[in-house]
Symmetry: C2
Subunit: 222 residues, 2 copies
DNA sequence: AAATGAATTTAGCCTATGCTAAACATTTAG
DNA sequence: CTAAATGTTTAGCATAGGCTAAATTCATTT
């Protein structure tokens, strides 16, 4: 069994390695920041993770998950996303609160528990923020969403996923009707991915900033 | 926040101090056994718990929880019992499986989570095995049940609580219809609390041994 | 009262995980 | 192309828990 700390590092590294900004190779500093520990502590743990064949460590370069490390990470992510969805659907948690609670619980649940909530949810394929849920076998659907910030005036799109990084941002989105499934149309956009004006579903017109537009992933409608 | 280890010790000590066999003063060895650690490790932790004002340690004598220690223990017990009941009622866990899963989860849940399952269950006052659930304020209902083993031939009784110590025993009870609320009548009993013959609710006659009879707590019916 | 045996504590060690300060490597700027 | 800035690792230390072996205390029995 992987310790909680190891699981937490693994999940963080997996997420960083999938972020479009970073790329597969993840730096020590980034990991340390994300985990809220010193760089020295991160190096320390990285060496242990390399020892366990979870990742490869090129000193001074960064870290890359092994296939087996990715597989382990996907199990953790599956637990997390199923829990988030369960908290939302079965216990009425708000969009922005599920991540923190799932972080606490994810280390504690058994396979049996996972199977039961999976069934109670009807074997869902996407999580509370639209992220794909890895299968029990460790497969995860590839998504091909555009960032809202990349669209241009006149385009229409449907919200498919949102970043769960910032609870405050999630509250903002919720209050402005920018939830999964909402259809939007770009009414006007400043050059260089600046702020944009949107027509949002039934709820009317919104102005959003770049940060918000980058946290929203959409299917572009023809 | 108390560490998991501290919480586990505290819960174990609380339970031991409530067991009729032991009495308020609990010995190091008993704690070590229950926790599955060496006596030296138990001593070690006991000193830390005393440091934290959770209990008083009379060296070579034993240990007694302070009022504040009891209060903390009751919070932990509340979490545990609410979780057990939730697992049973909401997720369909078997009687004998809830304890182990609740042990895993109880360290991980927030107050918010507790409140939500409390509400989802309709603010229950007894747990999955009939134990009283402490209130949020740290009060616990005193119960005054008899052990089935203490009854004599001819008496009738209603099952109110069962010991959750042994999952196998719980399976046995379940299979034989000896569940909460069942009415029984002692048909015949060997002297000195030996095995007994019972008429059990609608499901007919049972023979049970002493160990089983001691794990069942009942209200005696006039 | 002394001796034996059981229970308890102490001493000393181990691992996981964190930290700071110092050393080392890489990148960037002058 | 060297020097400063930045990023990374090493060294040494801390804390929480666990362990074994040895020492100590208590209880019991002669």
């Amino acid at each position: 069994m992987l310790s909680e700390a190891v699981q937490d590092y693994l999940k963080a590294i997996y997420k960083l390695s999938r972020a479009p900004e970073t790329g597969r190779m993840v730096s020590t500093t980034l990991i340390a920041e994300r985990m809220g520990v010193s760089a020295a502590s991160a190096t320390n743990m990285i060496k242990r993770l390399a020892e366990m064949n979870i990742l490869e460590h090129r000193p001074y370069q960064g870290v890359e998950l092994t296939p087996s490390g990715i597989h382990m990470a996907l199990e953790i992510v599956r637990h997390h996303r199923l829990l988030e969805l369960y908290l939302r659907q079965a216990l009425g948690y708000d969009w922005d609160a599920v991540d923190a609670e799932a972080d606490r619980l994810e280390h504690a649940i058994s396979e049996d528990f996972e199977d039961r909530i999976d069934e109670a949810l009807g074997f869902p394929t996407v999580g509370a923020h639209g992220e794909p849920i890895p299968t029990k076998e460790g497969n995860i659907a590839e998504t091909d969403y555009a960032r809202l910030s990349e669209l241009t005036a006149g385009q229409r799109a449907c919200i498919r996923q949102v970043s769960d990084r910032d609870p405050e941002l999630l509250r903002y989105l919720d209050q402005h009707g920018l939830v999964l499934g909402t259809e939007i149309r770009i009414a006007e956009k400043a050059p260089f991915s600046g702020p944009m004006r949107l027509d949002v579903g039934a709820s009317g017109e919104q102005h959003i900033g770049l940060e918000v537009a980058e946290a929203i992933y959409v299917d572009v409608l023809e």
